[in-house]
């Protein structure tokens, strides 16, 4: 596939690894924020190719993993209503809530539809006028503009029975929180390519300006990741932290202003609840007042009190403080067929990736 295959060239990869070895003089820890990076890093064995002194740690980068179980419980309570059809992305089905999951509810006969695009929710809404259709909308800034488009179009077309359970997250405030209370040493950040395709570089400036940490917006193929790591090592060695773009074929300094305008039209910043981490200021969204009638949070349903498995370490794993190997549940009672915590559910969750590749 064009723009993918050529970024998997082995000879160039070897050259980059040599270059990294020559440039790196001291032990460092780099965090990859995005789950797609974690998967690529394991899939191509990148950890094993790097000099021992460069350690890669995985961060909170998967919207499925960080959706709080109180929201999963809310979605479950909604789908148990007889007149509700719940629509969501396929990755959300297995995520454990406090006592159930959407997959279990679907097996019990609840009407839960898996959608691929936000716009599919509109079709379901229009096709089922006698039902209340709720789109359980999760995602980072890559996905949020597509949800904003769906909301704007719902309003335009007048689909009165379509509602949104909004659980989207904003990445930069989470990075700020992570860097502000450092329970781990981070020497450089591998920033997510597709979130940045929307955001551009401006929202990340605090990383280098306030925390003096280098950060590189990186693509997802092996050459992208190796070049991203090389650029980080170079910034660290030269002691010149900045926000650099490796993934130039997709990401520009200004990002996608049209997409950001759509988000601004529909949402305003709000505190966000991250599973395993907690509330982070301004890391989520709420509806602007004109769209309030579409907010499924206004539904009067009884939601069970949320609780997590007491031994689950997903919170620490999401912050890069612990690895899945330190969790007592890992591979014993927690595995992809019976996930206890969210990091085992998502294909991009750190525990799932460790399970598959380690």
């Amino acid at each position: 596939m064009k723009f993918i295959d050529e970024f998997r060239n082995k000879e160039i990869a070897e050259g980059l690894i040599q270059k990294i070895r020559k440039t790196s003089t001291r032990p460092i820890q780099l965090m990859e924020v995005c789950g797609t990076h974690t998967v690529s890093i394991f899939r191509y064995g990148i950890r094993g190719l790097l000099p021992e002194q460069i350690r890669l740690i995985s961060g909170p980068g998967c919207p499925v993993c960080v959706t709080p179980n109180s929201d999963i419980d809310f979605a479950i309570a909604l789908c148990r209503q007889k007149d509700v059809i719940l629509a969501t992305f396929g990755d959300m089905l297995k995520v454990p809530g406090s006592t159930s999951s959407l997959q279990k509810e679907k097996a019990e006969g609840r009407d839960i539809r898996i959608i691929y695009s936000s716009l599919d929710a509109l079709k379901i809404g229009k096709g089922n006028p006698g039902k209340k259709v709720v789109f359980f909308a999760v995602g980072f800034e890559t996905t949020s503009p597509t949800i904003a488009v769906a909301i704007l179009r719902t309003k335009e077309m007048g689909i009165p029975n379509l509602f949104f359970l909004n659980s989207q997250k904003r990445v930069p405030p989470a990075l700020f929180a992570l860097l502000q209370s450092p329970r781990i040493q981070i020497d450089g950040l591998i920033l997510p390519g597709h979130v940045s395709a929307i955001l551009g570089t401006a929202p990340y400036q605090f990383i280098s300006k306030e925390f003096h940490i280098p950060a590189v917006i990186t693509g997802f193929e092996p050459l992208d990741i190796l070049q991203g790591i090389y650029l980080l090592v170079r910034q660290i060695e030269e002691k010149k932290p900045e926000i650099e773009i490796q993934y130039r074929r997709i990401v520009t300094e200004e990002g996608n202003p049209i997409a950001r305008a759509k988000m601004d039209e529909v949402f305003e910043k709000d505190d966000g609840n991250w599973r395993g981490i907690g509330w982070i200021p301004e890391s989520g969204y709420r509806f602007r007042e004109t769209f309030n009638q579409m907010d499924a949070r206004g539904f009067n349903v009884e939601v069970e009190p949320s609780r997590e498995h007491p031994e689950c370490l997903c919170g620490e794993v999401l912050q890069g403080i612990k690895t899945p190997l330190e969790c007592r549940l890992f591979k014993k009672i927690c595995h992809p067929e019976n996930p206890v915590g969210p990091c085992m559910v998502s294909i991009e969750g750190t525990c799932h990736t460790f399970f598959k590749y380690q």
Binding site: K2, I4, L16, G90, D91, Y116, P145
Partner: protein, 101 residues
Amino acid sequence: MVRLSNHKRNYDTAPQATGERRRGGGGCSMCLGVPGKVLEIQKTTAKVDVGGFLREISLDLCPDVSVGEYVLIHTGFAIQKVDEKEAEEILDLLKKMAEAI
């Protein structure tokens, strides 16, 4: 007429089984993006070729594209144009770097 590959597939019913899943052996649909070539534009939608598969996508977030250009596709939306020149320049740079070692 652009020739797509020979995969037999019902394009309308299996959108998520196409390029995005083939790309890297899986990944969460909420993070992945794949490049596709624009074949046809109709108002706010486009038909694109994603690694030999035909897909219909929304151009709401990336309206300024032309037939023949590549876009990055995420959950059925073009979210950014692919800059072919940048891609070539980076590959050239990396090749030269690898040769110099």
